[in-house]
């Protein structure tokens, strides 16, 4: 399923809403999560999962082709931990 299909499904389930509004609703949700992560905040959605940001410390890497060493800067990566309910549902049946 891609975002447009998710929106189509939401429009189908909510015939009283305009497609334009459903697009804004879905967009707002993901934008809010992204903005929180960009600030370094965590987003916890009980039953579904939690988004957080992990720090990857700076390290000395190596160019695998030339063997040359390169300094890799510290970076932050988004991380998602599946919620308990969803994890259990994925494994039912």
């Amino acid at each position: 399923m891609i975002k447009s299909e998710l929106i189509a499904k939401m429009v189908e389930n909510n015939p009283h809403l305009y497609q334009r509004d459903v697009e804004r609703i879905v967009g707002t949700i993901f934008d809010e999560i992204s903005t929180a992560l960009a600030k370094g905040d965590r987003v916890e959605l009980r039953g579904f999962g939690a988004f957080s940001v992990k720090c990857r410390p700076a390290r000395t890497g190596r160019n695998p082709r030339t063997g040359e060493t390169v300094e890799v800067e510290e970076k932050f990566v988004p991380y998602f931990k599946t919620g308990k309910d969803l994890r259990q549902k994925l494994n039912k049946g």
Partner: protein, 97 residues
């Protein structure tokens, strides 16, 4: 650092669209439900400029209780992984500089 919850997402939807707080909360819930149902059915979910939720099958293996050293079978299972999009990765790193 603070933690955001469903309430914050509902509030954002409420501010953005002219719906009641109640309906905003219900819509947030149903978006999460649609995603979860799709994943449970075994289908991946891809949200452009955000990321992909991928369902992966893990084979069973023999695990070990690290404390007792005892062998425990780990059943085959399905796990969910999230692959953040390039756009999200860049947004998250922009803050630190």
């Amino acid at each position: 650092m603070s933690t955001k919850t469903r309430a914050d997402l509902s509030e954002a939807v409420y501010q953005e669209v002219g719906l009641s707080r109640n309906e905003s909360a219900e819509l947030v819930e149903s978006v999460l439900d649609e995603i979860a149902d799709c994943l449970v059915s075994g289908d991946n979910v891809k949200i452009s400029s955000f990321g992909s939720f991928l369902v992966r099958d893990k084979r069973g293996r023999i695990g070990r209780n690290p404390k007792t050293g005892e062998e425990v079978p780990i059943e085959p299972r399905r796990v969910l992984t999230f692959r953040p999009s390039q756009v999200l990765r860049e947004r998250i790193n922009a803050r630190s500089k």
